[in-house]
Symmetry: C2
Subunit: 435 residues, 2 copies
């Protein structure tokens, strides 16, 4: 088998077989196939796409490139949720405790902020002492104790994905739906889960802005999960505006705590209940989505979800008192308001710009080596469609470095528009795939 022939085969629309895919992934993981051949192959895949069978084989090969968790000794269904990323998307911090509080096991391996989007690990690290870098044995230990643990990918999980992702990042081959699907699914399935709820964002603040693309990726992931014998559904959800009111690491933790306490913004609460309900449904804790929502709501009202969050934080070395005293979270030194230039209705014209404004303040990274400022971020007191008067606050900037303010202001101004007519309301969950 010659790598160059397989690249040509893919380039000429040929399907590559599971054996050929194994040969490529094993050879690349072992360092026997050079980067320059794999990058040409990745570009050919971006060009020609992959069949379901190829994506399944690729996912499987990447999954088997490293360790996979066997959690069969833990009681309860193992269910995870994964989001493709957006602005203000802190649902993992809410639904992991909810699901674990009701008896599911949630082995959540999460990511960092990428581009204009935030990342669960960065958010958790704004809790003083919280350690997301548990070893796999420690991860299992915490899972066994409280039914939930949240960590970053270790080198042992899907190392092929790690290597391929790094290569995609520098060769402009990130955007392939087939490669995105295999990357996500190989890591998630390595967690030893029974079921997976996918939150595929669409809109101006998502990576896949067009709903058609989001649906396409969702279908690929659901089909790949099915081929691997897992129960998978994907919710196509709105990312045309920030989710909730807060964007920025510590501020998102605080807002998550509000939701766990029964408060918080309606859109965030609704999505958290919906996603939790699907986890309960797939994890056989609820016979319907409505029943699942009630079960999720119960975890909040009873205080069990909040208690579970305290427990997780404690077991992962963090300051659990933040749950009751969010003022213990890092706080920015300064705030300044961006106000409405006229009377009208709030319209978010480019949600990605609002995410980039957070990055500009230091809440995200421009390059991998950048340090995160956990305290900075944005608060959006008004949502899309809200009426405003000239001078009303559209956004409050929480910042530490005045030098970074101009960029953030410019981006925020470019993200909003005040319209005469109220924009048509959009559903939060646009479609469910694979139900």
């Amino acid at each position: 088998m010659r790598v160059v022939d397989l690249i040509r085969q893919k380039r000429e629309r040929g399907e590559i077989t599971p054996e050929q895919i194994n040969f490529l992934i094993e050879g690349y993981t072992r360092g026997e196939i050079p980067d320059y051949q794999i990058s040409a192959l990745l570009m050919a895949i971006l060009w020609r796409g992959m069949t379901h069978s190829e994506i399944g084989a690729l996912t499987d090969a990447m999954l088997r490139s490293g360790r996979t968790l066997d959690l069969s000794d833990l009681a309860g269904k193992k269910v995870d949720k994964h989001s493709t990323g957006g602005v203000g998307d802190k649902t993992s911090l809410v639904i992991a405790p909810i699901a674990a509080a009701a008896g599911l096991v949630v082995p959540m391996i999460s990511g960092r902020g990428l581009g204009h989007t935030g990342g669960t690990l960065d958010k958790l690290e704004s809790i003083p002492g919280f350690n997301v870098n548990l070893s796999l044995p420690d991860f299992r230990r915490v899972l066994g104790k409280c039914g939930c643990a949240l960590i970053g990918a270790t080198d042992e999980i899907a190392p092929a994905d790690k290597k391929i992702y790094a290569l995609r990042d520098v060769t402009a081959t990130v955007e392939s739906p087939a490669l995105i699907c295999a990357s996500i699914m190989s890591k998630k399935l390595a967690e030893g889960i029974d079921a997976l709820v996918l939150d595929v964002k669409t809109g101006s603040g998502a990576f896949l802005k067009a709903e058609k693309e989001a649906v396409g990726l969702a279908e690929l992931m659901v089909e790949t999960g099915r081929r691997m014998g897992k129960r998978v559904v994907a919710l196509i959800t709105d990312m045309d505006q920030p989710l909730g009111r807060a964007a920025g690491n510590a501020m998102e933790v605080a807002e998550s705590i509000e939701i766990l306490g029964g408060g918080g913004p309606a859109d965030l609460r609704e999505l958290c209940l919906e996603l939790s309900a699907w986890m309960f449904y797939l994890g056989e804790r609820a016979a319907s989505i409505d029943e699942g929502k009630r079960l999720a709501s119960d975890q909040i009202i009873s205080g069990r979800a909040k208690e579970k969050f305290r427990e997780i934080i404690r077991l992962q070395g963090g300051d659990a008192q933040v749950v009751d005293h969010p003022d213990r979270l890092p706080k920015a030194q300064h705030t300044v308001d961006v106000t409405s230039p006229s009377d009208g209705y709030v319209q978010v014209t480019d949600c990605e710009k609002l995410g980039l404004a957070c990055v500009a303040l230091g809440a995200g990274r421009n390059i991998k080596e950048d340090a995160i400022d956990p305290a900075v971020g944005l608060i959006f007191p008004r949502k899309r469609g809200d009426a405003v008067r000239q001078g009303d606050t559209l956004c409050t900037i929480h910042y530490n470095s005045p030098a970074r303010l101009d960029d953030a202001r410019r981006l925020i101004a470019a993200g909003f528009q005040i319209t005469r007519q109220a924009p048509a309301p959009q559903p939060l969950v646009r479609r469910v795939i694979g139900a």
Copy 2:
């Protein structure tokens, strides 16, 4: 400027500017841009193509990555010919002496056999002592003395092309017309020529089998030459059957000497006169193609072309006596005939197979490190359309290793067909582009 952004730009059908192309080629030549980014870029170029302006800029950047010859001190126009390669294509060995004999300067930097095709350097090396590895000063010296020299590409000429070609070869990105054009033109224009005649082969024995593709490449090369201020024409010529009667290195040298002596097969003679005529026309030694053909013919009839060939061989260290005593060339130990299975007319159904049969005998290479057997090859006593009786010879195999015979026989059998009706005759020169 970030390489990944330029790859994305190309991938998304964006044009890359001359400055960006320079940045990429300079960075890659100096080893500052890694192979894996360039291979992804090459696949994106194969996918999206390049505009004339991009190809011009790429050719220019590759040309300037190394030394370019300045031959302005030599009297006479500097004109070269380049063929895209075929089976039995030995025209360079004939027209270089013809052109130089009539006062043109022919600084010919040639290649080795590639895939199923033969290469001028391999053919010349079958002449005992002939040195194709002259340094650039020696190349100039021979050029100054006799108006012609034939060498291989040195490391000083277009090193970017060398590096990119090696990468294309292992990443299935050879077939891009834009990249083929830039590769050929950068090397040819580094020779310091005024004009160039391109022989773009089409048919089953060519790399570009469809005439449309051959014409497309020819147009790109002519346009690129024009942008670089050179006179360039491209002849689209037939490669649906081997050119002449001989394929194999020493056997092709012998056939070239026949042509220079006024004999040899009609098709090869016709194409040599045609290509020489275009060189004379572009080099301002003839006012028309007809006049150019007469001038070329005169060089043969007068013996001046043959004398020039002796001179070239002598100056490049070879045994010039082969011109008068071709039996001094290497000779295979055995011959065997492949005969016609029935009465009918000769049809060549797959000329590439006939080239591969030569490679199988040892006349070409399967991998770069293979040694060439200069003596082996095939003689085709009958051309397409000739009437045959059952048992008549279609091909005589000249071989040294009986172990290699079976493969060659099988390939030859797959290349020919005997038909009831004579196939329609095809013109040797199908079109001229850029005249």
